[in-house]
Structures are given as structure tokens and as C-alpha cells.
Symmetry: C2
Subunit: 195 residues, 2 copies
């Protein structure tokens, strides 16, 4: 039997990350029964994003022009290049208000178990970008997970061998936490990196 339009929709929603079959059914029901306008808007938003969103030629993040607004901003310190995994990580750093350099967005991290090699990320572009003659320091701000650490390690090797200064975000006790509840590995790092 060929699929109905409803089954096709449920399958398509089920392909979204983190959405199981039951959630996909509930979403399809909600959209068709209670919010057809949202369904139409989502379809238009998907088509619009597919047509407009591309990678920044300098930092590889999502953008709609050739160069993203951050890379185009002359007020930023072009001597600092901060490497992050995703646009969401970049946004978190931006919200701190304490970083004024530029970024490079890998759009992922190495994950051998999922078959994601470093070469699948924007890492080739990173080396080229970092060697523009203006960048003096590359700050590795990948996640402090096994995969993020491995990514940082491999990137650091490649960048240092080309004579660049490479630093990593500090590990330590999170602001607002009581030592008693902080995991031991974090405390050990904080002790080690005390200043």
C-alpha cells in the first residue's frame, strides 16, 4: 500500500533529531488539527532556510551573505581566533560579552564512533584561515567531552606545527558551585591549573 500524505508527514517529522515515532505522530496531529498555519509557516521556513543559508567564507558558520556579520565587523580583534563546534557555542561565547576576537566554527566535532573524522569538519578551512598572517592566537573552545577534547588535541597539533600560538579554554570549578557537589575530575583540573 502506498503511503498516505499523513504517513509521509509522520516519517518526515520522525527524521528530526530527538523525535521518536510517538512524538512525530503527536506533532502531525497537532499541526493538522490545531495549527495548520504553523505547518504552512514551517514548510516556508524550511524552504527559505535551504535557499538562503550558506557557510561564511571566513569562519564557516551559517550566514546568508558571503561573509557573516561577525567576520565583517572591523571593530573586532582579528589577532584572536576562537574555534567552536557550533553556532550555538559561538552564541554562548558572544553572550558573555568578554570576547572581542573572531571565530571559526567547525560545524561539529570529531566522533570516530559516529564515523565523523576531522576532515569531515571545516578543519582544512581552519588551518588556512588561521594562517592569514593576522591571527596570533587560536583559542580552542570545543566541548570538554571526550570528542571535544580529542578534536582540540588534534587541531592543536596541526596548528602548533605551523607556528601558531594555541590556547584552550580554562577548565575549573563553574561559577556558583559548591565544591562538595563538583565532580572530582573538575576539582583536580582546577587544582592543577590554580593561579
Amino acid at each position: 500500500m502506498s503511503q498516505t500524505a499523513l504517513e509521509t508527514l509522520i516519517d518526515a517529522l520522525h527524521r528530526l533529531p530527538g523525535v521518536g515515532v510517538k512524538s512525530a505522530q503527536r506533532m502531525a496531529f497537532h499541526l493538522l488539527q490545531h495549527d495548520r498555519q504553523a505547518a504552512a509557516e514551517l514548510a516556508r521556513a524550511l524552504d527559505g532556510a535551504l535557499a538562503a543559508v550558506r557557510h561564511c567564507a571566513r569562519c564557516y558558520t551559517f550566514t546568508e551573505g558571503e561573509i557573516c556579520p561577525v567576520c565583517s565587523d572591523d571593530a573586532r580583534d582579528a589577532r584572536l581566533l576562537c574555534v567552536v563546534e557550533t553556532p550555538a557555542d559561538q552564541a554562548a561565547l558572544e553572550r558573555t560579552g568578554s570576547y572581542h576576537g573572531l571565530y571559526y566554527v567547525l560545524m561539529g566535532r570529531m566522533s570516530p564512533l559516529d564515523g565523523v573524522a576531522l576532515s569531515d569538519l571545516g578543519s582544512q578551512g581552519l588551518v588556512q584561515r588561521a594562517l592569514d598572517g593576522v591571527v596570533e592566537e587560536v583559542i580552542l573552545a570545543t566541548s570538554f567531552t571526550a570528542e571535544g577534547e580529542a578534536t582540540a588535541h588534534v587541531l592543536a597539533q596541526g596548528l602548533k606545527s605551523r607556528g601558531l600560538k594555541v590556547t584552550r579554554l580554562a577548565r575549573g570549578v563553574p561559577a556558583g558551585s559548591e565544591l562538595e557537589y563538583v565532580d572530582l575530575s573538575t576539582i583536580a583540573h582546577a587544582l592543577n591549573d590554580r593561579r
Copy 2:
């Protein structure tokens, strides 16, 4: 500043039930970075479902024709009419293989707290449908939650006053459960309705 195509997409995904801002960001990132084909297919599936999916003229469930396949099936017992809340509930009953009558799908349940009155559901159509002269028994299979019970109660009053036989799914101990772990209200009902 006007919204970028990416922000518009995140907002549209955020409107899906059960999807928070972070999940919407992760979905948008995944679709644009790793699975543009899925994004295109979802857009087409949404448009396709919006164009094709309508309500069955007899049982009010989602269908693509005038009458849904179940209502069109002459082999089913037209004297039994089972009232369910959603197509998913109907599908669960169908999977049991032990019901051969017809259905009426309310497409929701009364929920005064959310401002959903009985008249917002397909309840008018239900009375009309149940009085077709063929239906002999209406089986209320709404959820056994406060809202589902209230819906069943109000529907039962309306249908009984028109001379129809109205029954409710049995409450009791679920198959495979040990009494020790079953909630007290369920055990009390099972004791009361013992046979």
C-alpha cells in the same frame, strides 16, 4: 533587525509541540548542516499533508478521501460505534484485532483548563452519527484521565438521553502487572468491576 532565514526556521520548529528553543536550534543545525534532503522532504510532506488531509465525513478522523477506509469497509459491524480521542487511540484499538465495529474520532478531549469545550470537538457530529438508525451501542473509549473521564461522562449523558445504549471500556489491572505495583485506584476499580 529583521529575522534571518535561520532564525525564522528555529522559530517555526519551536512551535512544534514538545520542542523547546534548544531543541529547535539543534534541529535547524542538523537539517542545514547534515541533512538538507530531510529538510526539503519535510517541507514537501507538510505542504502535501495540508493539501490532502481532511476529515472523514462519517467518523471525523483524518483521511484523504470523502470517507476513510475503515468507514468504507462493509465487513465491519455498523451496529457498534467506538468513540476515541485521536487517530492514535483508534490505531491502538485496531492493533488489538478484537474490535470489528466502526469508530468516531473526537480529535481531542474536553479540557476546561485549556479552554477546550465539548463543542470544540467533533461532538455534534457524533450525536448525528450515532443516530443513523443502525448504531445500537456506543462504546466510549476516551482516556482514563480526568479530562477523558469528563468527556465520556458528558457524552454518555447526551447519548443516553437519545435512547442509545452507551458503554465504557472496562477499568482494571493491566495485563502482565503485579498487584503490588498497580496503583490503588486501579485495584479498587478492578475489585468493584470483578466478574
